[in-house]
C-alpha cells in the first residue's frame, strides 16, 4: 500500500492552495493512500513505447487571424467582484 504521510499531504495542500487542519491532513492521508494504491494496478501493464494520449482528436495548432476584437465590458466584469475600489479589484497586501 502506498504510504502518504501527513507532512506530504500538507505539502500537496500548500501546492493546491488549500488551508488544511490536522484532522483533515490525517483523513486525506488515508484516503489518498487508498486511491493511489488502487491506481498502482496500472503498473501491471507494460507501457514501454506507448505514446501517451493527451487528447483524442487529431487537432494541431488551431489558428485564427490576428485581429483585435472587443473584449468583455469592464463594468460587467466588475459585477461579480466582491471587493473593489475605484473600478479596480481589491486584494489583501501581497508583501509582508
Amino acid at each position: 500500500m502506498a504510504n502518504i504521510s501527513k507532512e506530504e499531504v500538507k505539502h500537496v495542500a500548500h501546492l493546491a492552495r488549500l488551508a488544511i487542519t490536522e484532522d483533515e491532513a490525517e483523513k486525506f492521508a488515508g484516503q489518498l493512500a487508498a486511491i493511489t494504491t488502487f491506481a498502482e494496478q496500472l503498473n501491471e501493464l507494460d507501457t514501454t513505447n506507448v505514446i501517451p494520449t493527451t487528447h483524442v482528436l487529431p487537432l494541431v495548432n488551431i489558428m485564427r487571424e490576428d485581429q483585435s476584437v472587443a473584449g468583455l465590458d469592464r463594468d460587467k466584469m466588475m459585477k461579480n467582484v466582491r471587493e473593489q475600489e475605484a473600478g479596480q479589484v481589491k486584494v489583501p497586501s501581497i508583501l509582508d
Binding site: V12, L32, A39, P52, L57, V81, R82, P92
Partner: protein, 489 residues
C-alpha cells in the same frame, strides 16, 4: 396527466392547432416544479419572470419562422453559464455568481427558440455519481425518493423523469449524463468529444468533458443534439466536422447491424437483473435483423484508475482559477494574499472536490508525474485502441450503463472507491472520446435500468438509429414514476 408526456413533435402540433400556447407550456413547467420539486429537489435557480415574458413574445412569432424545438421548455445543468442567471456548479465557492455571457450551447438553445426554465442541481463541479456532493441539496430519484438520481447530472435527469421539463442539458466527464439517465429511466447522450462546444461549460477535466441532451425519448434527444452541435471558434477543441440530420437517421432499420458485446460488461459486479435486461434487449435487436457477438475490451478494468488520475489532474489545474478575487465566494478576516487563496478555497470547496484537487496535485507533482499522470495517459492509449479494434468489425458496442439500479441516499457516500465503481462501464467511453447513449431497457426493484449503446467517433447517427429501433419495439420509455400523476397541474 401532464403535457410533458408528449414528444416535441406532438407538442408542436398542439401549439400549431392552438390547443396550447407557448406561455401555457412554460407556465406548466413552473406549476410542475412548484408541486413536485419540494420532493425531487432538481432545480436550483429559476428563470420564471424572464421565461414567461419570453414565451409571450414567442407566441406572436409566425409559424413559418418556428423550428421543431421552438417554444419548448428546457432545464440547464448548473455548470453551464447563463447570462444573468445564477450559476454555481452546486458549489459554495460560486454562490451568487451571475455570469456575464451565455455558453455557446445556451446561445444555440435560444436560437432554436427554446425557453430556459432554470438551473439544475449536480454534484459539486460535476464530481460525483449521486448529487450528494452538491453544496445546496441532494436531488431525489423520482421513482423512489429514498434513492439517488445518479450524478453528476442528477438534477437534469430527475427533472425530465419527473416531467418538470421535457428537455435538459447535462455534462458527461465519466458517465455524468448516462448514469443518471439510466437511474432515472430517461434518454441521455454523451456525444463524441468535440461534437458540442464546451465554451461556457465550467471546466472539470477538459480532455473528457462533453455537454449532451437528456430527454424522454430518442427522437427528442436527436433533435436537441442537432440543435447544440457544431464547431465553435470560442472552443478550439470543438471539431470541424459536418453535423448530419440525426432525426433523418431514425429509420427503424437495423437489418445487418453488427453489435459487439464486451464480456467485461457482463462480468463480475454487474447484477443479474442488469445482465438479463441487456440480453433481453439484444434479443429484441436480433428479432429486428441485427446480429451480436461477444467481444473483449481487455483494458476496461484499468479505466477507473486511469480516469481518476487524468480527470483529477486536469481538475486540479482547471479549479486553480477559483481564488476568491474576481468572482464567487471570498474568505474574510485574512492577513495576506496567500491566506486569502487558501482560506477561500478551504471554505468554498466541499470534501470531494478537495480530495480530487489533492489527488490531481499529487499526481502532477515532481516525483509522481511519470508514475501516475503519464502512466495513466499511456493506459488511456491502450483503452482507446481497444475501441478502435472493435469498431473495425462492429457498428456499435452494447452493454449496461451501470452495474446496478439506483442506490439509496447515504449508502456509498463515505467510501469514495465504491462510489467511483458506479462509473466503471461509462468511463472507458470518455477516455476513448467516442459517443454513448443510455436508454431505458427494463426495471429491477421497481427502479429503471439503462442500456448503453456506444458508437464510432462522430457516428451518433448510428447510435440514434439503433436506440430508436429498440425503443419503438419496447415500451419501457413510456412508463412514468408514480409521483408523475400525483402532481396537481
Amino acid at each position: 396527466m401532464t403535457l410533458f408526456k408528449y414528444s416535441a413533435s406532438e407538442l408542436q402540433e398542439m401549439i400549431h392547432n392552438k390547443e396550447v400556447t407557448i406561455e401555457e407550456l412554460t407556465a406548466e413547467s413552473y406549476k410542475r416544479i412548484e408541486s413536485l420539486d419540494g420532493d425531487v429537489k432538481a432545480f436550483l435557480a429559476l428563470n420564471k419572470e424572464q421565461a414567461i415574458a419570453q414565451a409571450k413574445e414567442m407566441d406572436k412569432v409566425p409559424a413559418s419562422k418556428r423550428g421543431p424545438l421552438f417554444g419548448l421548455p428546457i432545464g440547464v445543468k448548473d455548470n453551464i453559464v447563463t447570462e444573468g442567471l445564477e450559476t454555481t456548479c452546486s458549489s459554495k465557492i460560486l454562490e451568487g455568481f451571475n455570469p456575464i455571457y451565455d455558453a455557446t450551447v445556451v446561445r444555440k438553445l435560444r436560437e432554436a427558440g427554446m425557453i430556459t426554465i432554470g438551473k439544475l442541481n449536480m454534484d459539486e463541479f460535476a464530481m460525483g455519481s449521486s448529487t450528494e456532493n452538491s453544496a445546496y441539496k441532494t436531488t431525489s430519484n423520482p421513482w423512489d425518493l429514498d434513492r439517488v438520481p445518479g450524478g453528476s447530472s442528477g438534477g437534469s435527469a430527475a427533472a425530465v423523469a419527473a416531467g418538470e421539463v421535457p428537455f435538459s442539458l447535462g455534462s458527461d466527464t465519466g458517465g455524468s449524463i448516462r448514469q443518471p439517465a439510466s437511474f432515472c429511466g430517461v434518454v441521455g447522450m454523451k456525444p463524441t468529444y468535440g461534437r458540442v462546444s464546451r465554451f461556457g461549460l465550467v471546466a472539470f477535466a477538459s480532455s473528457l468533458d462533453q455537454i449532451g441532451p437528456i430527454t424522454r425519448n430518442v427522437r427528442d434527444n436527436a433533435l436537441l443534439l442537432e440543435a447544440i452541435s457544431g464547431v465553435d471558434e470560442s472552443d478550439s477543441t470543438s471539431a470541424n466536422v459536418d453535423v448530419p440530420s440525426f432525426v433523418e437517421s431514425l429509420t427503424g432499420d437495423v437489418k445487418g447491424l453488427r453489435i459487439g458485446v464486451p464480456r467485461e460488461y457482463l462480468g463480475e459486479g454487474v447484477s443479474e437483473a442488469v445482465k438479463q435486461s441487456v440480453l433481453d434487449a439484444l434479443k429484441v435487436l436480433e428479432s429486428l435483423g441485427a446480429t451480436w457477438e461477444e467481444v473483449s475490451l481487455p483494458h476496461s478494468k484499468y479505466g477507473l484508475a486511469t480516469y481518476y488520475l487524468i480527470s483529477s489532474s486536469e481538475a486540479s489545474s482547471n479549479l486553480a482559477r477559483f481564488d476568491g478575487i474576481r468572482y464567487g465566494f471570498r474568505a474574510e478576516n485574512v492577513e495576506n494574499l496567500m491566506e486569502l487563496y487558501k482560506e477561500t478555497r478551504a471554505q468554498g470547496f466541499g470534501d470531494e472536490v478537495k480530495r480530487r484537487i489533492m489527488l490531481g496535485t499529487y499526481s502532477l507533482s515532481a516525483g509522481s508525474y511519470d508514475a501516475y499522470y503519464k502512466k495513466a495517459q499511456q493506459v488511456r492509449t491502450l483503452i482507446k485502441q481497444d475501441f478502435d479494434q472493435i469498431f473495425e468489425q462492429y457498428d456499435v458496442i452494447i452493454g449496461p450503463t451501470t452495474p446496478t439500479p439506483a442506490f439509496k441516499v447515504g449508502e456509498n457516500i463515505d467510501d469514495p472507491l465504491t462510489m467511483y465503481a458506479n462509473d466503471i462501464l461509462t468511463i472507458p467511453v470518455n477516455l476513448a472520446g467516442v459517443p454513448g447513449i443510455s436508454i431505458p431497457c427494463g426495471f429491477s426493484e421497481g427502479m429503471p435500468l439503462g442500456l448503453q449503446i456506444i458508437g464510432k467517433h462522430f457516428d451518433e447517427a448510428t447510435i440514434y438509429r439503433v436506440a430508436h429501433a429498440y425503443e419503438q419495439a419496447t415500451s419501457f420509455h413510456k412508463q412514468t414514476p408514480q409521483l408523475w400523476e400525483g402532481a396537481n397541474s
